[in-house]
Amino acid sequence: MTDRKVPRTTMHIDWTRCDGRGLCIELLPELLTRDDWGYPVGRGGSEILIPENLEYAAQDAVALCPTQALRLRK
């Protein structure tokens, strides 16, 4: 751990719901890439750290996910 301010929000991916539609990847290209099968890959596995400047984009990703696989957690 460092003393630097850590991003406060994480985006949880429920892999049991995720279908690899890829909308979140388009909305958060700074954080997510596509795996071989179209599923989102980001640092943190199931808990993607969301920096402050991307919180709105993350909220969009959560709201627009067609399988409701995403959740934001403070």
Binding site: W15, T16, D35, S46
Partner: protein, 407 residues
């Protein structure tokens, strides 16, 4: 759960078993032998139990290896009455110890569940195990007139024993892992705080409640106290279960159980989600701290030896194929990634080799890790990567169309 066991009969008190035969000290699974060996069921409050478990150094024996007291302590004391589950599901094909325990010492597991439940003022007690293992438990219930514990049959699948799968199965759902955002001890079965402990952990808890942490620590090492059950299998014979002092070196375990270490090429430690160790690494102590430097874990106490004439890559390919088939098909990275990784590994093991295969296997292993609702993709990836390391020279040989084991 209200207790009718709160008085301790001094007359019935017995000393803790000496030596390393502890869990099986009764010599027989019947209630009379159990009571003669271990005495009456003790009563213990929440704080003393947590304290005694903490001093004992007991770690969980189901595979993940969390310290036993921390799990109990993480059940919030907020007035919600919790659920306690004894987990005897043993989907790991290399493990036989929970079955051996439930057949030979069912009363000790029942005691551990009752003591944990009573100390936490649990609302419900559950025992979850395969059909064959429930039979001796039902006999034990009849002997002692036990009616507070509900029994559930676990299916014979690899992931049925994962804690969220256990809770799902008990609540009437499918025995597959669930996505988790909260700890089970916060919100588990029907939203209640839920403590899921492996049956061996509960059996040790029953002994520690009776004889204390100092007695528990009188065997084993300082950082790895007590005894543990192991399942040893491989090039010697079929799977056998032993109770050993924790912290013995792997080589010592092999020698004392009649295995010639010279005939062992490598050992798979920790089970199908475990790590291959080379013959040179087998002087590591079989404990969490002892195995950490070589990148391995005890898992559920599993050691499988590989004979000098056997190919580690072929053995790994076969296990990876099995594990890929055991996915719950819920999470895309696991559903897609594991069969792909298994088939690349099979190509490497069985001769259809290209120089890119090890890199591709490593890439797929990294790609699936941390991307499931349970540890199945991570554990499967760990096995594949450890095989590439432990059998590195054989990987080179395979890429040149040869196999070290067949030379």
């Amino acid at each position: 759960m209200t207790s009718d066991q709160s008085t301790i009969s001094v007359r019935g008190h017995v000393a803790g078993p000496a030596g390393t035969t502890r869990l099986f000290a009764a010599g027989s699974g019947d209630y009379g032998s159990h009571q003669a060996a271990f005495g009456p069921l003790p009563a213990m409050g929440r704080a003393p139990l947590i304290d005694e478990l903490s001093r004992s150094g007991l770690d969980g024996r189901g595979g993940a290896g969390f310290t036993a007291w921390q799990k109990v302590a993480s059940v919030p004391a907020d007035g919600r009455r919790p659920v306690v589950v004894a987990n005897g599901a043993e989907g790991e094909p290399l493990s036989k110890k929970d079955a051996a325990l439930l057949h030979n010492a069912p009363h000790l597991v029942i005691d551990g569940l009752l003591i944990a439940g009573q100390s936490l003022d649990a609302k419900e007690l559950h025992l979850y195990a395969g059909a064959e293992q429930l039979a001796p438990v039902i006999r034990a219930f009849k002997e002692r007139g036990e009616a507070r514990i509900r029994l559930h049959e676990a299916p014979d699948t690899f992931i049925s024993g994962e804690a969220t799968a256990v809770v799902s199965a008990i609540s009437g759902g499918l025995p597959i892992p669930r996505d988790r955002t909260k700890r089970l001890t916060d919100s588990g079965l029907n939203g209640r705080p839920t403590l899921v402990h492996n049956v061996e952990t509960l059996a040790h808890l029953a002994l520690i409640s009776r004889f204390g942490s100092a007695w528990f620590r009188s065997v084993g090492t300082g950082s790895a106290p007590g005894t543990r059950l192991i399942t040893l299998s491989g090039n010697t014979a079929g799977a056998r279960v032993y109770e050993i002092p924790t912290g013995l070196c792997l080589t010592e375990i092999l020698v004392s159980t009649g295995v010639d270490p010279q005939a062992v090429r490598a050992a798979l430690v920790g089970g199908y989600h475990g790590t291959w160790l080379t013959a040179e690494q087998l002087d590591a102590p079989f404990s969490r701290e002892g195995l950490a430097p070589v990148g391995a874990r005890t898992g559920a106490g599993i050691i499988m030896t590989l004979g000098s004439g056997s190919c580690g890559l072929a053995a790994t390919a076969d296990i990876l194929g099995y594990l890929a088939g055991q996915s719950a098909r819920q999470c895309g990275p696991c559903t897609n990634g594991l069969p792909n990784m298994a088939s690349q590994f099979a190509r490497l093991a069985y001769g259809d080799a290209s120089g890119r295969l090890p890199q591709e296997i490593s890439r797929l292993a990294a790609l699936v890790t941390g991307r499931g609702s349970c540890a199945h993709p991570d554990g499967t990836a760990r096995l594949a990567l450890s095989a590439l390391m432990a059998f590195a020279s054989d990987v080179e040989a395979h890429l040149r169309g040869r196999c070290e084991a067949l030379q």
